[in-house]
């Protein structure tokens, strides 16, 4: 007797047919860059624990054009993650009621983006101040 071969509809390229899902797949894909960047930092930390020579060889490796290219791509991807994270935030957080009115989505999104911009500038200022 033949084995059962039920029909399974192919999922090939389902998301490419709808711009909404294309955007969805891109913002989910930013996780690959977050993971890879965490891996780069983890490697650096392990090299740091192995002593000065190991640390310096890791620092030199970061100047490799492949690493620079990766970090340019990661910068774009993670910046896009920041944008989508706050863009969908009105739907991922519980409703906020202010004065009997539900807080509008754009208020949550723009507040989040403003806080992110301030955090980034604050981090840069902190690092600059500590390194000077």
């Amino acid at each position: 007797m033949n084995k059962r071969r039920p029909y399974v509809r192919s999922m090939d390229g389902w998301w490419r047919k709808n711009p909404f899902f294309v955007e969805y797949m891109i913002h989910e894909g930013t996780a690959l860059f977050v993971a890879a960047y965490a891996g780069v930092l983890l490697t650096g930390l392990v090299r740091l624990s192995q002593g000065e020579a190991a640390w310096n060889s890791w620092l030199t490796a970061l100047q490799n054009p492949w690493y620079i290219g990766f970090h340019l791509a990661a910068l774009a991807a993670i910046t896009y993650h920041t944008y989508t994270w706050f863009k969908i935030m009105p739907r991922t957080m519980p409703p906020v009621v202010v004065g009997g009115q539900k807080l509008a989505g754009w208020v949550i999104t723009s507040t989040g983006l403003a806080v992110a911009a301030a955090s980034c500038l604050g981090l840069l200022a902190l690092v600059w101040g500590m390194a000077r």
Partner: protein, 122 residues
């Protein structure tokens, strides 16, 4: 006697995903710029920003340790959760094996981070 309701472990993974997502949204772009572009290319920041002495002192300080641990571990848990749930979207019917692989790698990275932070001393 009625068995007590099974508690789901989903909120734990979701909380780690959310915390990592928030941290990477707030600081991720600037961190990538500093460690991946500004320092290697010698832009903007002093040349010894990430010198061995500076980074060792940072990793030996309690606040520095906490920052490094939170960044690496939460980024990993955020990404693991998102990648695990996206497997379904690309047609992989993810089961327990995929879950163990995704969250297991995040756990492994977390343990290595903790170990290295202890190894650099105090």
């Amino acid at each position: 006697m009625k068995a007590p309701l099974q508690r789901s472990n989903a909120p734990i993974f979701w909380a780690l995903f959310g915390a990592g997502g928030m941290l990477s949204a707030l600081l991720g772009p600037m961190l990538v710029f500093i460690t991946g572009l500004a320092v290697p290319l010698g832009l903007l920041l002093p040349p010894d920003t990430m010198s061995y002495a500076n980074m060792l002192a940072f990793a030996q300080h309690l606040i520095g340790k906490g920052f490094i641990f939170a960044i690496i571990a939460l980024f990993l848990w955020h990404a693991a959760h998102r990648i695990f749930h996206s497997l379904h979207d690309i047609g992989i019917h993810a089961g327990m094996g995929a879950k163990l692989l995704c969250y297991g790698l995040a756990m492994l990275g977390t343990l290595i981070t903790a170990y290295a932070l202890l190894a650099v001393g105090f």
